[in-house]
């Protein structure tokens, strides 16, 4: 199957190395612990393994059968057929990290194109080749800021409306450093004006990080806020939804130093939460302070254009313990998916998808507003996600909707004690008017009792 050796080849090879058995190659393993029994199920053929995995897959009710209004960091967008067709090329997915540029120009050029697309989408000057996901991209932004100030500034201000998993990941990463102060979702999230954060900024602040649109879907213009952050000399990071940037002002207009985020909406399947794609863009002057792989253009001996991994002096394998991060393997294939996706959609396609999300979400919100017993939070503008206050317990509503084949959003009470009666709903271009009307009809039934 996956081991090609015949019996006679094994014998020839053993003879060539002067051994009489394969077992004898393991005499350096402590005898007591050598060749333990492995209690595993018997080996299956490909046909049987596929059946077994198909059975497990069909034990789920996925968004193939359910109408999806769940978002909260992972979104059900349409993925053009060409994306996966290109990803399945063995020349891409069975290659390693492009350490040998002469035979890795395909991967390297695709990464440079990814960097270019992300830079242009976020409005920033440069981008790296990726992080594991949106959460770790945020955490790496914090580490970059920590190292930028050489550990002398120790306060990190995290918007209470940053995705709770991102907040938790930042806490875990910064927890290993001494003397760090983290200001995050201590207060009531729903009352917090995102701009109130500004009052917390001082001379000891290394980084302020906000989300755009935030975890509750709100779109805030951070133009004056970015200036305020810089007045105290701190760095400013914005975690953005890349699809929203097809329509909304890029965070560069807020004077952001780092624009990071989850790239999953750019042509990557939801796949139960991973693998996804962390993106990380910054300003030219900060490029040597960030972590992650970076590809640059150069020439060969004959003057031909080519690409290499560059600025490697920042990285773990060169800088050893002084590196800003230990990141090595990143999300190469997912970055390729996003590159193909953005190339296919292009200027007009991404704008169109973003507008469809916006229009359909606003139609949904308007329809829900008309139902008694439900209130759509409208204190801020929103993109494709919004909060609905319910009279009924959200868990009961979610159960009822699920019974009718609808994934009815996220129960915010699971994350914020003061949002016990709130649902977070997301709408994408995949949701048709018919689906939205099914949702609102069902909510009307809930209201009718």
């Amino acid at each position: 199957m996956f081991i090609p050796h015949t019996d006679s080849e094994r014998r020839e090879m053993l003879k060539a190395i002067g051994k009489d058995s394969i077992e004898s190659l393991f005499s350096d393993i402590p005898e007591k612990y050598r060749f333990p029994k492995l209690d595993l199920p018997p080996a299956l053929s490909e046909m049987e393994a596929l059946q077994e995995l198909s059975d497990l897959a069909s034990a789920n009710n996925s968004c193939d059968e359910l109408i999806c209004f769940l978002g909260a960091g992972a979104y059900n967008h349409y993925i053009p057929a060409a994306v996966d067709m290109l990803l399945r090329r063995g020349d891409f997915f069975t290659a390693y990290t492009p350490y040998q540029p002469e035979i890795s120009q395909g991967t390297l050029q695709a990464v440079l194109e990814f960097q270019s697309l992300i830079a242009n989408l976020t409005g920033m000057e440069v981008s790296n080749a990726s992080h594991y996901d949106g959460a770790t991209a945020c955490a790496e932004a914090c580490l970059s800021a920590y190292h930028y100030f050489r550990g002398k500034r120790t306060k990190f201000i995290i918007s209470p409306a940053l995705h709770p998993h991102y907040c938790d990941t930042i806490r875990t990463y910064l927890g290993a450093l001494d003397g760090i102060q983290i200001i995050d979702r201590s207060d009531s999230i729903q009352q917090v004006d995102p701009l109130v954060l500004a009052d917390q900024i001082d001379e000891n602040t290394a980084l302020v990080i906000v989300q755009y649109p935030d975890f509750l879907g709100r779109v805030v213009d951070f133009s004056s806020f970015g200036k305020k952050v810089h007045e105290s000399g701190a760095l400013f990071a914005v975690a953005a939804n890349p699809i929203s940037l097809g329509l909304l002002k890029p965070p560069s207009e807020f004077d952001a130093d780092f624009v990071v985020g989850e790239g999953q909406p750019l042509g990557i399947p939801m796949s139960f939460g991973g693998p996804y794609l962390g993106f990380f863009a910054t300003r030219n002057v900060l490029i040597r302070k960030i972590s992650g792989r970076i590809v640059g253009e150069t020439v060969d001996g004959k003057g031909n254009r080519g690409y290499v991994l560059t600025l490697t002096a920042r990285e773990q394998h060169i800088r050893r313990e002084k590196a800003t991060s230990n990141i090595c393997t990143n999300q190469g294939l997912m970055a390729l998916a996003a590159t193909v996706y953005m190339s296919l959609l292009g200027k007009s396609g991404l704008r169109k998808v973003a507008e469809l999300c916006y229009q359909k979400a606003h139609y949904t919100a308007n329809q829900i507003t008309a139902i008694s017993g439900f209130k759509v939070r409208n204190d801020w503008a929103f993109f494709n996600e919004f909060v609905v206050e319910c009279k009924e317990e959200p868990k009961k509503i979610i159960d009822f909707l699920l019974h009718e084949g609808v994934l009815g959003g996220l129960d915010l009470g699971d994350f914020y004690p003061d949002m016990k009666n709130c649902l977070l709903l997301a709408v994408t271009e995949k949701n048709t008017k018919e689906e939205i009307d099914i949702l609102t009809d069902l909510l009307q039934e809930v209201a009718n009792g």
């Binding site: 080849e9 595993l40 063995g90 395909g106 796949s271 939460g273 693998p275 970076i294 150069t298 994934l407």
Partner: protein, 487 residues
């Protein structure tokens, strides 16, 4: 000719995919929040397909040929993995779906956790970490949390042998420790005297790559672990080289406290040109409560008629979350498929043939290249790519010349303890014929080095581009192929 970039291929007005028009009443867009310009390229679908097809042809891959990249375990990637990971029930499930709708996913994760425990001999496993280095970070943070909980705040140092993986020192710093370098002895084992001398009440733990980056099993492994444990430290196993140990021994039995596993190496999931990986972490019983949040567990036991109810569990003393959602699920499905198809005997065969292949190459190649640590290796071995009589030839020249013969170069210049290192890992999926061909080419290159050194120095000659100017790349930074016209 070089392939143009997507921006060079762009023509105003082209579209690659059409979306339906809106079927809901239109609302006015909020003018003050809208961006003016979206500087993305404009291409047709065929432009995109041809462009990326052209790019893919500039890559070398396992599908094309031999890839003996030491430490990276570039084994064949079974195609069935790509099919199972894309089953619609898996692919189209949202990470926040209600538990009752995702029991299939949770069963996949639970099974792989259980099987990895069995394969490695540990008590508990987290599938959260996204890659090997991420798993290392989790291991470091677990060490930190363990000592802290016991009120043992003095343990600030992590011992890292000079034969360890390259990421280990950076991981130690990132986890808030000071890495201390431990030298190797003449046989490629840890220098025990130096280890004893440095172990004390400030030792948080040791990060041991075993087999190490010389491809050698630590012959004194039990003693090494005992020394660190007696000083109150923990022993972390860098499991990037686990391919050599499947069914051969269990690191948990040997006394390791923590181990990370690279699903994208040992368990055949593809490397994707630099990810996604997956770096599950396995721990002994006394560390299970520190694992990252969440792990998958059984909430309600099943019976003959009903399967168990799986759910997420937050470990009591957890180090916290290390990423969003539940790890690289798509990679987990691929690894589960691989274990299912191999079973216990198949896994042991993997290690046996990986080690046989490496020893076969080592025995023949050491006649033409210096082998500084000459004893039976495990899955890989390290040669010197330099000859005393040829001062102008370097490992890099040998590596680049291999490309001309259609073979991917070994890892070079690592580990640092071998001068001009060439680190060769054939893996179990390569046939004797492929290895004999590799041997022939390596011997030919050794001959060329002596007879025509200049030719080697200019290699590669047959690749899409020649040696690239890395100094220029870092000096005249060009990191984007097109900038917005506003700049």
């Amino acid at each position: 000719m070089a392939e143009p970039t997507i921006y060079e291929l762009s023509s105003p007005g082209r579209i690659g995919i059409r979306f339906p028009d809106s079927d809901v009443p239109q609302q006015e867009l909020p003018k003050d929040l809208i961006r003016k310009d979206l500087p993305l390229p404009e291409l047709s679908e065929m432009d995109v397909i041809r462009h990326f097809t052209h790019l893919s042809r500039l890559n070398y891959s396992i599908d094309e040929g031999f890839y003996p990249l030491g430490s990276c375990t570039m084994k064949y990637n079974p195609r069935i993995n790509e099919v199972t990971a894309r089953l619609p029930g898996f692919l189209n499930s949202h990470p926040f779906q209600p538990l009752e709708t995702i029991q299939g996913n949770l069963a996949v994760m639970f099974l792989l956790q259980e099987w990895l425990k069995e394969i490695t001999g540990f008590h508990a496993v987290s599938l959260q970490p996204a890659a090997g280095a991420h798993g290392e970070l989790v291991g470091g943070l677990i060490m930190r949390a363990f000592h802290k909980k016991r009120g043992d705040e003095k343990r600030t140092k992590i011992l890292v042998p000079d034969s360890a993986h390259g990421t280990n020192p950076a991981t130690s710093s990132m986890a808030g420790f000071e890495p201390i370098n431990i030298p190797s002895d003449k046989r490629g084992n840890i220098d025990l005297e130096k280890l004893i001398a440095v172990c004390d009440e400030t030792t948080a733990g040791l990060m041991l790559t075993n087999p190490n980056t010389l491809g050698l099993f630590e012959e004194n492994v039990l003693e090494v672990i005992k020394i660190v444990h007696s000083a109150g430290g923990l022993v972390y196993g860098d499991g990037a080289n686990l391919n050599a140990l499947l069914g051969i021994t269990k690191p948990g039995m040997l006394g390791f406290d923590i181990l990370h596993i690279n699903l994208h190496k040992t368990f055949s999931t593809p490397h994707g040109g630099g990810g996604p990986g997956s770096g599950p972490v396995a721990v002994a019983e006394h560390l299970a409560s520190f694992l990252p949040d969440p792990v998958v567990g059984i909430l309600e036991e099943g019976n003959d008629d009903l399967p168990p109810l799986y759910g997420f569990i937050k470990p009591k003393d957890t180090i916290g979350r290390v990423k969003a959602f539940h790890g690289h699920f798509g990679v987990v499905v691929r690894a589960l498929t691989y274990v299912l198809m191999n079973g216990a005997e198949g896994l042991r065969n993997i290690a046996e043939y990986a080690v046989l292949n490496a020893n076969y190459l080592m025995e023949i190649l050491k006649k033409a290249y210096t082998l500084p640590y000459d004893r039976p290796c495990k899955h890989e071995f390290v040669l010197e790519g330099i000859w005393d009589e040829l001062p102008d030839i370097h490992a890099l020249d040998v590596a680049k010349r291999l490309m001309d013969y259609g073979i991917h170069p070994p890892t070079n210049y690592f580990p640092l303890i071998v001068r001009e290192a060439l680190m060769i890992e054939p893996t179990e999926t390569e046939s004797k014929q492929t290895m004999d061909e590799f041997v022939k080419v390596m011997l030919l290159i050794a001959k060329e080095a002596h007879e025509n050194p200049e030719f080697l120095h200019d290699a590669p000659h047959n690749t899409p581009v020649g040696r690239l100017d890395e100094v220029k790349a870092a000096r005249d930074l060009v990191l984007c192929c097109w900038r917005s016209e506003n700049d």
